[in-house]
């Protein structure tokens, strides 16, 4: 099977790197790049081989692992996880190529690859405990990446990140156990953590219990997302992390949370997710506005981008919990988009940092004069992040808001105001950094070199492509999302909030219609 290969190939690479002799340290990066690139290629192959009409899990592999505890090695991919896997496979090589560690290259690449394995495992696991293992183990490489290669305040940031996220997942573990054991008790079957079996028996549990369990899951994911008010680890982690760390953190790690909300929140707890949807909706909307407002006031460019993530992830949560095809698909699409655009933003900020050795907005001015190409790329990425139609950001945002509007009108109306603020903080930041006449410190800043251009090219390309032609992504998601919603509807017996079917029409029919009326109103 291909999935285990995808998951463990980076680990193999890490092992290989561990074995490289210190004398041959030049070989480190090539190996790392090669492994991650190979993994990326495999994920692309996966996307190609993926049957886009099948809403079910594909490439599944199921073998017993810890039988006594009902835990199995169960992996598989469906439209919901497919593109997150691809995104992971794409961002890691880019991040690895883009930035070289200042010291301890060996450990750095090992941790990066371990991290990749962890992320892929999370997206592909179909067993709760397996998922949890990967979900939790991701912390360690990230902890070391931030802690060892981060900036001034890295220890604080790393520890905060670790404890904050661990707190969330700690309760989730209890939740999982309660779920599995009580379900087994209700159904009389043996204890199992198999996602599919648990999902089939979802609704067996007493409503209140299910809601509590859902909360324990939601907390863990909310921390990871991060949602207001448990978001404050993010700015610190992002600011202190090395560039590659920020890219992965924003591009992939945050998605673990939103992905979990879909895969486990909605799938396992239809009733509870509907019951708590207003709560999460509200938090999402708060996150959108709040994150934007706070971002506007940041003096540190990286911090600003970090808070913009809070806002964007708020949108995603909004989409997920509108529990209709448009919203969820928008959310999933936005996960990918956010990974691309925010990842790109962090790369660019990193490039600037390497040149200027500062992240303080106040210390930069008129960079567009010094580095036009950098500025141009930044503009495109920024506009995508602002949600300009024609770039990827917009499609997701629109679907989310449309779905949200159908589900909970007024929330969506307020959330839509987030697009104004997004324009405000990003354009203002851009103006302060790139516009104006550069002073001596900034005038001599070199423009992007070929390697950096090479790194940015695929990102920008995808940003444009997904903005113009998102269909390949959406059509692969749709069956899975519909399956999910049908599952929820049959378990919970509720109607997914959606627009009622209207008659197909066109100008021709309109004309015939008016012909019947005999064009009244055209009198005189």
């Amino acid at each position: 099977m291909v999935l285990p290969v995808i998951i463990f190939l980076p680990l193999v690479g890490a092992a290989a790197i561990a074995l490289i002799a210190p004398s041959r340290s030049t070989a480190l990066k090539p190996v790392a790049v090669a492994t991650s690139a190979a993994t990326g290629a495999l994920t692309l192959w996966l996307m190609a081989a993926f049957d886009k009409h099948d809403g079910d899990f594909q490439f599944t592999q199921l073998t017993e692992w810890v039988g006594s505890a009902g835990i199995s090695w169960h992996v598989g991919v469906d439209g919901i996880s497919l593109f997150l896997v691809v995104l992971t496979g794409l961002l890691f090589p880019i991040a690895i190529v883009a930035c070289d560690p200042p010291h301890d290259a060996k450990a750095y690449y090992i941790w990066m690859l371990v991290l990749e394995t962890g992320c892929l495992g999370v997206f592909l696991a179909l067993d709760l405990v397996l998922f949890f293992l990967f979900f939790e183990v991701v912390l360690i490489p990230m902890y070391f990446l931030i802690g060892s290669w981060g900036h001034e305040n890295r220890k604080y940031a790393a520890t905060k990140f670790f404890l904050f996220t661990m707190l969330g997942s700690a309760l989730m573990l209890v939740g999982m156990l309660v779920l599995a054991l009580l379900t087994a008790r209700e159904t009389g079957n043996a204890v199992t953590f198999n996602l599919l079996e648990l999902a089939n028996s979802a609704g067996e549990l007493p409503t209140i219990t299910a809601r509590w369990i859902f909360l324990s899951f939601a907390l863990a994911f909310a921390v990871k997302v991060p949602m207001f008010p448990v978001h404050t680890w993010l700015p610190d982690a992002h600011t202190e992390a090395p560039t590659a760390g920020s890219v992965i953190l924003a591009g992939v790690l945050l998605k673990l949370g939103t992905y979990g909300l879909v895969r486990f929140g909605l799938y396992l707890f239809p009733e509870a997710s509907r019951y708590f949807a207003p709560l999460l909706f509200t938090l999402g909307v708060i996150g959108i506005l709040y994150g934007a407002v706070v971002a506007t006031m940041q003096r540190d460019l990286k911090r600003l981008v970090a808070y913009s993530s809070v806002a964007h992830l708020g949108f995603i949560v909004l989409g997920i919990f509108s529990i209709n095809t448009e919203g969820i698909e928008g959310g999933l699409l936005q996960m990918v988009n956010h990974g691309l655009s925010t990842g790109a933003l962090f790369l660019l900020v990193g490039f600037i940092y390497e040149r200027r050795h500062t992240r303080q907005i106040s210390e930069m001015i008129g960079l567009q004069k010094a580095a036009p190409v950098l500025a141009a790329v930044f503009t495109v990425v920024m506009l995508s992040s602002v949600g300009l139609p024609g770039l990827n950001g917009f499609v997701g945002e629109f679907l989310i808001l449309a779905g949200a509007f159908v589900a909970h009108r007024w929330w969506a109306v307020v959330a839509a105001a987030g697009v104004i603020l997004a324009a405000l903080y990003l354009l203002w930041a851009y103006q302060r950094v790139f516009h104006g006449t550069p002073d001596d410190a900034n005038r001599s800043m070199p423009d992007l070199n070929w390697q950096e251009k090479l790194v940015m090219a695929p990102l920008v390309g995808l940003i444009v492509f997904l903005g113009v032609y998102p269909k390949p992504v959406i059509e692969r998601m749709e069956p899975a999302v519909n399956a999910l919603i049908e599952h929820m509807e049959e378990v919970e017996g509720f109607e997914s909030p959606t627009v009622d079917d209207r008659p197909e029409g066109s100008f021709e029919e309109l004309r015939t219609l008016k012909a019947d009326y005999g064009d009244e109103g055209e009198g005189h």
């Binding site: 104004i420 959606t498 066109s506 109103g521």
Partner: protein, 654 residues
């Protein structure tokens, strides 16, 4: 179906190709070839439009909407949006003058942007704008229109802050984008509501649905009002007009193309396009549009009276003219609105380009108080400018007269008060345009030059009171190159004759009206009175505009009244609205943002760190119990034992 119409995709394809080519090798092409390429693309686009137009004309009157779908754009769940073009009279009319005027302005820019280091970048933006604008116009669904809508916004942002090294331009661009976003919010929500109501965003399906099943007036009203918010943002209607004057920071061709001829009219286009929904809305909704338009028109006109920056004057007049179009839409005179849009596109573009030529000649000085007597030195510019002046002033037979007169007529039919105010606005328009023309081209020069030094000096004494600075600036005005003057001439011609597109005399010569009929689905209003009244109204209008002109002459040539008494500071400062907004954003608004940020740092994050320190504190406190004294440890054990005994005695039920 005629194949010509299916060429509609070519119309945006040309500018897009231009963008891509220029992005690829714009640097290598360099000046002026990059400019020529861009212009050629616009020309090609214009020709394509003509072909489509011809194709449409070939169709039978009622079958003039054809939809060309390229590919599915966002097929998600119930929402299915395509990249598809709607070629119908309305869109093609728009496309015609967008591409036409656009091509001229591209040509003009080659001369205007001469020697600018960002030459090719400028034309990339310009082509990109044209592309977006055409998507806006030709999109067959709201979402695609929105794509163009936002695209033109982005381009205007890029072009306003084109000379980014100057902070003022940068913030003007940002202001324009953000203000537009406020409007876009309305557009977005309107789309959601439409999607919820019709399950689709395609014009065809929406209109069919409305026609076949009708719709709740409340929903329709909501949609229209939200669209109005969007339109007000894009078309600079009160209170979202504040961005347009600042937008003059951009290069003048930009002001001409984007902020006069094309983009700002998008709001009017949108409302016209959605006429079937407006027809379903409550009665007060059109009135709202109408009064917003009137208010804006009147206000902007009064402001324009007191401006001294030549481009600011034109900017406010643009706002005012857009107000006219909104009034037209509000009164159901969609045809008049489009008609005025077209004529306005011609003469306002002309005026702006002329102004640009003047500025070009005056080495970038834009203050009309330092102009004067330029007619002799800039013959072509001044002649064409005069044509534009008469057109906007509403002097027959210039184009402006016809369109404005039609709007006035409908206003009269709608509401007398409306008519009076609108007429006053028209008069004001004539007045301030006269002021502009006189101060720029006629009267004594208020600048010095080697050749005309002496006379300039003494005449300067007489005029000096209107000049704040005593020392007269040194200038040597010169006519612009042909690339700049040629478009002026063409536009002037159009500005003069454009009236023939839609003559009021008989319904046969009402060309534009008949042409647009299919796109309006019989929602166009009708004059409740006959030709006689129309003649009367026309005469009144003519008298009014001539009065305005002569009043201007009276003030600014014969100096019957001190101009300072008219140019009241309150008007000069644009009714202080801009200041109010700025003060709010800089004051309470900013403070609120800062408060929130502090809240995040101190309360939200503070709580997190507090938990940590709290646990630490507890630990430190507990340490005391670890005294190192074996006897206190023993005591702990003994107390524990007692505690256990107590528990178990409760279990024993004693």
């Amino acid at each position: 179906m005629s194949t010509l119409v299916d060429l509609v995709w070519l119309i945006p394809a040309f500018p897009l190709a231009g963008v891509l080519i220029l992005m690829a090798l714009g640097r290598r092409l360099g000046e002026p070839r990059a400019g020529w390429l861009a212009t050629a693309m616009m020309g090609g686009s214009f020709l394509a439009t003509l072909l489509v137009f011809i194709g449409l004309v070939g169709h039978d009157g009622d079958e003039r909407e054809t939809v060309l779908t390229l590919f599915e754009w966002v097929p998600a769940g119930k929402l299915a949006v395509d990249i598809g073009f709607l070629a119908d009279p309305l869109s093609i009319t728009m496309a015609l003058f967008v591409t036409g005027v656009g091509a001229l302005i591209h040509l003009y820019s080659i001369g205007y942007m001469h020697g600018d280091e960002g030459f090719s970048r400028f034309f990339i933006y310009l082509n990109l704008f044209a592309f977006s604008m055409l998507m806006l116009v030709l999109g067959d669904n709201l979402l695609l229109t929105f794509l163009g809508w936002e695209g033109v916004g982005a381009c205007s942002y890029l072009l306003i802050s084109f000379w980014f090294t100057d902070e003022a331009n940068a913030s003007a661009g940002k202001k324009a984008f953000v203000t537009n976003r406020v409007g876009d919010w309305g557009f977005l929500v309107a789309m959601f509501l439409a999607f919820l109501t019709f399950g689709s965003l395609q014009y065809g399906e929406i209109f069919y649905d409305v026609e076949s099943h009708g719709m709740a007036a409340s929903t329709a009203s909501a949609i229209v009002v939200l669209l109005l918010v969007g339109a007000a943002g894009k078309s600079a209607q009160f209170p979202l007009h504040i961005w347009l004057p600042d937008a003059m920071a951009g290069p003048t061709p930009v002001s001409a193309l984007i902020h006069a001829a094309t983009m700002v009219t998008a709001g009017v286009y949108l409302l016209t396009r959605m006429s079937p929904i407006i027809a379903e809305a409550h009665g007060w909704v059109p009135d709202l549009i109408m009064w917003v338009g009137l208010g804006t028109a009147l206000m902007a006109a009064t402001i324009a009276v007191a401006q001294n920056d030549i481009k600011k004057v034109l900017a406010y007049s643009t706002v005012s003219q857009l107000g006219f179009m909104f009034v037209a839409v509000g009164t159901g005179a969609y045809v008049a609105a489009i008609f005025h849009m077209v004529t306005h596109a011609f003469f306002k573009a002309l005026l702006f380009l002329g102004a640009g030529s003047v500025i070009h000649g005056m080495d970038g000085d834009q203050d009309i108080r330092r102009y004067g007597g330029l007619a002799r030195l800039l013959p072509i510019t001044s002649m064409t400018f005069v044509a534009g002046w008469l057109a906007i002033a509403g002097v027959p037979p210039f184009s402006g007269f016809w369109s404005k007169d039609e709007i006035l007529a409908y206003a009269y039919g709608e509401n007398r008060l409306l008519w009076v105010l609108l007429l006053a606005t028209a008069i004001l328009t004539a007045f301030y345009m006269t002021r502009l023309v006189l101060m720029t081209f006629f009267g004594p020069p208020r600048w010095t030059d080697q050749e005309v030094g002496t006379e300039a000096d003494e005449e300067a004494e007489s005029a000096s009171e209107s000049v704040p600075e005593q020392a007269l600036p040194y200038r040597h005005p010169h006519e612009s190159p042909w690339t700049m003057t040629a478009p002026l001439v063409v536009l002037a011609g159009l500005a003069i004759v454009a009236g023939v597109f839609n003559l009021p005399f008989t319904s046969d010569v009402h060309f534009l009206g008949n042409w647009l009929k299919p796109s309006l689905f019989g929602n166009a209003g009708h004059l409740p009175f006959g030709g006689g009244t129309q003649w009367v109204l026309a005469i009144v209008a003519i008298v009014g505009s001539l009065g305005g002109v002569s009043a201007g002459a009276a003030v600014y040539i014969r100096r019957r009244i001190d101009p300072a008494r008219i140019e009241h500071p309150f008007l000069a400062r644009a009714w202080r609205i801009d200041e109010l907004v700025t003060n709010f954003m800089g004051g309470p608004g900013r403070r609120a943002f800062e408060r929130t940020t502090q809240f995040d740092e101190q309360v939200v994050d503070g709580a997190v760190n507090a938990t940590g320190t709290l646990i630490r504190r507890a630990g430190t406190k507990l340490r005391v119990s670890q005294s190192g004294l074996v006897r206190s440890y023993a005591l702990g054990i003994a107390l524990g034992a007692v505690a256990l005994l107590v528990w178990f005695i409760t279990r024993a039920g004693l």
